[in-house]
Symmetry: D2
Subunit: 466 residues, 4 copies
């Protein structure tokens, strides 16, 4: 996942981008970058780590002048952890700078990359995004927006794209609308962002989504749709509603909070726990679903886990083994609440299962009578090719074990997931408007090659830029 | 406020101290320091900022060898923001290193400091803590613990102290027991810390409190009480239960979470809101009190505010004014929950009132029918002299305005505080076991001089160490 | 100018490269980079500033493992000051990493770059060196050495090149032998470097020069000449002997020190100063020529200027104007030596004239009777296209003013240059073996376009990577 | 050794101090510090390393406002390498900041320090300088200058002192005038510095020396001598002329360059080398003495060693042993000059002998017929107690070995030193005006205790501030 934002027509474009990235920090914490254009020069600053850290020095933003800017927070899907893979990427197409911020993941690229290289193309990064730029460099068309449209006709996969050139900012979204992408307005300033929480922070009003398949140019003439890619049935990523987006955002035209509460309610119906004394959440990710579960089930909603909000990115560990240290660094139990009680703990999803297992062990130390786990989504059994950074299928616990085995592994008294039908009926749109590949294995695009995060990291020899 | 922790008898003493500081990060975010002793040398590392940042480099902890160590997280009460005021302070008493970590605040020190200076004493810091060391240097006694006992006989105020010397670690607490201070055990390792959450993280078991007035030496012979200061009626800081301590800690012998929930329940009885649709908290500080209020009142508990957990210490702001940016950086509203509803928002306390005012403005944008504010403590009207860093009395909104004026200032439909009696009856101990000076103005110690955070910052000329 | 070095067949290849760069620091102080290959991965570290600063952290060199490595110190000739222009450059040619370190300057590149871009090539840097890599990507040939040979057939200009691939290190030199390039041996380790001073530091023995026009592959089979570019009459840069190389180096088969002393002697014959009391140098650059001048003229050699050896790269200046501060930061006069004396000051060359003018002002303050300036080379009147970073011709004082005007500008009693003939007869090789373009304007290659350092910095819009 | 400078009455006092420290960088490269006073606050910035590095950020000097400032470059004589020992030290004497910069070394302090500690004094550093401040704190007197005078009456040893308070800058020098100390004027600005080279850089004129035994107050009324310590026969450090001061400075009323040349001439008379072909210096330290030796002996002065001017403070070494790397990092030989010649190399002094030994080995590789070493001072046999940081007497080669043994150790054909008489007759003042203790063992002050650099570093336990 990644978060992107573009600002057109504001003297402090880079600062607004910075705020928008900050609001979308949950979409990528590995790195952040901003590119601005001041009418003469393109400026860029990027770095590894959180947005507030990458731009902690006020001079950094001052060195990004201009009234248009785009930004990117990174959560690697393709391309290694290398600093040069942090977006927005910046290239020279015939001496014209072109900068690209991309949320999503292209598929079926291997043959295309090999062919481009045979023709002499030299790739600077191992990202999927760079393919688009090489296609633009080979495309014809007077405007960069035309070259981009031509390039996008040749690729498959998920993309919400922002492209900055001296001609303006281009926003483009794949025909399936895989990733969220919204347009907003703050006075005379245009905004395009992954989620509405970015609009809220800077005080912008939501206008509409960048439509699936739309290529949109933003310049002094306002918004113009310059191209439409061949239409497809929408395939919105349902996991954005389940976990990824912020609960205070609106995406795909609905409030995340509302649907997440609905998932909790449906879960209470499908997977009741009649004997339980209290229901608790894993703060803060399952707070909203827990509210839904508690209200529908009538079980008392309690605070059983306290989250430490000072968790840093790297943490120094002692050599001696301290039991459950990893989970304790993030959570502590409220003993008085848990002791002697039959407890339901709600979580939004289980990936590898290790975190939940450690959490259950921690809960057990507080002396609950029983521990039931309820998950407000279905078992994740398949790899995502469209922008989520799930581990390999071998590492997905639900791909490898039965429900009984998972219960034993987690050490719980019972475990229940929400069904695929339950998930889809909790939504506001028809069931076939969603991509559920990670649950169902049904990929909307036929995959010719298995995408891997490091697909283009050369196996031998390899770059290692320090 | 400050958080302190000492470890005796563990080969990774500094790393355990580091974890204990991390667990107590909420007690002070301005700086952190650790001092260790390896049998030959005293080692020290301190820095401004969060614990995880000050010790982000693994080499830093490796450079703090030894089986005893003490640590301090700082939230300045006396002494400026100067780096040299970050504890644990380190002094040479007759070529013997003595390091002191202090939570609390001494009072009535001015005359004593002036007298010491007249006798030639040169102060290195502007902290109250340093007075103790100068008194130790002038005291007689074979052991440092004896010199410390003699010094503590001469001072007044609040102190939970950890003193590291080559003779061991000394823990001392003022006779009123103003600040929490607990002892624990992890295998053969002794632990002393401000709160039990520090014990929980490293897996130590709680033994007992360092008793009010106790001076305790920890060395290879175990714990020995070497001195008792003249007994006093306990005066525990009630604000630790209301706001300051972590809800998952036990202090003064009771669970914080339990009493905080009780405060919420008492508030529901004293200050009902019969027409309200929902009750929301200010995450995360009033979460527990809100649970109490909701359960006693029967009003539906909802999540109306989302907190951004990536808030950094410094944040770059645009020059153009963005409405409510400061509060929005920390919170966003969940619009669907608030629109058209009569909302009760619970908070633990109001100091200046500016944050609550901004929060109410933010809530209003989401379109609630009414906004009621309920506070799970009494109006704060007085300065704290015993370790809390409240602003001057002129800045305390309840010192300056009537309830009607505060309601108008906040822009709320109603405001109600918990009464002093309501607070005290929610506690587990007799009412006269608590210091309520910030609410009542009744100071347990007669103050000869008004203490200020920068009391010993020379008015002119002044230090400014970069 | 730049300094390059390659090491093949040593477990500490990167460290030897680092030492070789350090010895060649005078060839470029703007930045330094090292690329190593450990049989599996290519590693790279580069930075702005001096070699000792870029690699001040021991971990940096440890992170460059492998038995082959190349390095580069940078003094920009083409390409802006941008960090990404610091060599060795690193590219992926069909997923194979290729790294290039280049001393020299290619010419007549504009049309070629535009054509490559029209075919879709995306340039990562604004250096001339990158052209070679794009030509390699389009060339055929099994080995990278063959692709490189094919690419070099297509370019004109000065190049001493080191190319690292997984097949070994390739050394190539233009057919004119414009820049120095020497091979050495340390036990079983092969070394290729710009100057012999790099061999001396690591204790390697000089073998021979990389010959003009030679493309040489160094791998486990030793040295193999894989290609020879069309032969040309040598055109060694004479300015290397006059100023640029270190006096303790051997280049083009002769000791720099010996020829520099010879230039001083010839100058004493051509431009005598019979009435002078003492002759002084501008330490350290003209020390050797001054020894030659003093010994041939019989005038007493004195130390009249002391050089401050702590000169840093950036220096903070007061706002108030301090007379001659710039030159005083580098030099101070020895008053007792200069007062009342008729002084000859020897320098190797004059470019803009501003430094000499300031130096003369400084000398005048010490009260000499007269000041004569003698220059051990001819007037510099033309731009260098082959690797020296002279300013534009408008800024060259000898291009703009007569000798009388320069004397007046410098404020000296007399000024004399060495003649072109005097320079060439001081050499060990025939006069037509040298490029004297900066003095004579006779360029060995016809220039189709005026090369500028920033030729490929796009005029609008432009990159500005922070 | 250390270099100090004070500026009074200039809006850019700190910047001028910075320049003055830079000019005196040779007097101490371990650290640098500046303290300024702006009429309200005292500001301070210090750091380890070179002046240009400690103040590389322009903001650092801007954060040192005020029209008076003092600075210090450090070369530890007493006090460990600890950052808190870097001057100028800063203390609070009865809430009044007092900052002290000290060049020299006090003696016989142990008993005094122990007594002060018994009375309760807490030392912040392990420097000798701090004793003076504790004595000031215990002294009476209205002005700090009076307290300082009273304190200085109680100490023995070498001191050139600058003390900054809100009353002005106080300059004081021990009665023997051990260390140089000069006053200068730049417009209305007063300057006091160790050497005149600091005055030269900022364009100040030399006025006179701070006289031995003088305590001088500089404030808006100009210079006032406020006290004179009991008069003594001068004991100027002769090693300042031999090696330590810059050759372009004037100290003790004479040009260093002139006397250093005189030492070379006397050496030529005492220790001739009639068969030698050439005489070379160890650049740059013995350049001036070599000029004297060459001119008096008539032997040809050549450049046989090239010094690398990019030597950094720390340098990374390979694990494999490279012969003579340490000396090669600093010097390379000019082979053509040395091969087959009988060479005299002049140096100013020999301390441990290891550097000269390595240098001789390096010279031998260039194939000279013979190598003679001539030293322009006498054998150093004794520890300095007055400010020079010589190693222990056991490490001084001349204390441990005969001339024959030293010749064998160095591997030279002959070695000769200048006699004590030769040194003294080369001076401009009577022989008994100089301290020659390091050569003769005659200490002008009776030493009660052997001073060591780390005298007050507590043996156990010890500080280790990171």
């Amino acid at each position: 996942m990644c978060g992107i934002i573009g600002i057109y027509g504001n003297p402090e474009a880079a600062t607004l981008v910075y705020l928008g990235l900050y609001a979308q920090q949950h979409r990528g914490q590995e790195g952040a970058g901003i590119v601005s254009y001041d009418g003469e020069q393109v400026h860029r600053h990027m770095g590894q780590g959180l947005v507030a850290d990458v731009y902690s020095d006020p001079g950094t933003l001052q060195a990004l002048p201009g009234s248009l800017a785009i930004g990117h927070t990174r959560y690697s899907t393709t391309g290694g952890l290398d600093a040069k893979n942090i977006g927005p990427l910046l290239f020279n197409v015939e001496e014209t700078p072109v900068s690209v911020a991309h949320n999503g993941n292209l598929v079926n690229l291997g043959a295309m990359r090999r062919q481009l290289q045979k023709e002499g193309a030299i790739f600077q990064t191992t990202t999927d995004t760079e393919i688009i730029v090489h296609l633009m460099a080979r495309a014809s068309g007077e405007r960069m927006a035309d070259r981009l449209s031509a390039a996008l006709e040749q690729v498959e996969g998920a993309f919400s794209l922002l492209v900055l050139t001296h001609e303006g900012i281009i926003a483009a979204r794949d025909p399936y609308g895989w990733r969220p992408f919204v347009l907003g307005r703050l006075g005379d300033t245009w905004v395009a962002a992954s989620e509405t929480c970015a609009l809220d922070l800077i005080g912008a009003k939501e206008l509409r989504d960048v439509e699936p398949g739309e290529v949109l140019l933003i310049n002094d003439d306002g918004l113009q749709t310059v191209h439409r890619l061949p239409e497809q049935r929408p395939k919105h990523c349902i996991f954005e509603y389940i976990y990824f987006s912020r609960p205070d955002s609106r995406i795909y035209g609905a409030n995340v909070d509302k649907l997440r509460r609905k998932l909790g309610k449906t879960l209470a119906e499908e997977a009741p726990t009649p004997t339980a004394d209290i229901v608790i959440s894993v703060p803060d990710s399952s707070n909203t679903a827990t509210v839904g579960y508690a209200s529908r089930s009538g079980i008392k909603h309690e605070i059983g886990l306290i989250r430490n909000h000072y968790v840093g990115r790297s943490f120094i560990r002692p050599e001696q083994e301290l039991r459950d240290l990893t989970v304790k660094l993030k959570f502590n139990t409220v003993k008085g609440v848990l002791a002697g009680r039959e407890v339901v703990i709600i979580d939004d999803s289980i990936v590898r299962g290790t975190t939940m297992r450690n959490l259950v062990r921690l809960l057990r130390e507080a002396g609950p009578k029983k521990v039931h786990v309820r998950i407000s989504s279905s078992p994740i059994r398949h790899h995502c090719q469209f922008g989520l950074d799930f581990p390999t299928e071998e590492e997905l616990i639900a791909n490898q074990r039965t429900k009984d085995q998972i219960e034993a592994y987690l050490g719980v008294d019972s475990l229940m997931y929400l069904s695929l039908e339950g998930m889809l009926t909790s939504m506001d749109q028809p069931p076939d408007h969603f991509c559920t590949a990670c649950f169902s294995g049904e990929y909307p695009i036929t995959l010719n090659e298995v995408g891997r995060k490091d697909a283009f990291e050369p196996s031998k020899p390899e770059f290692d830029d320090h």
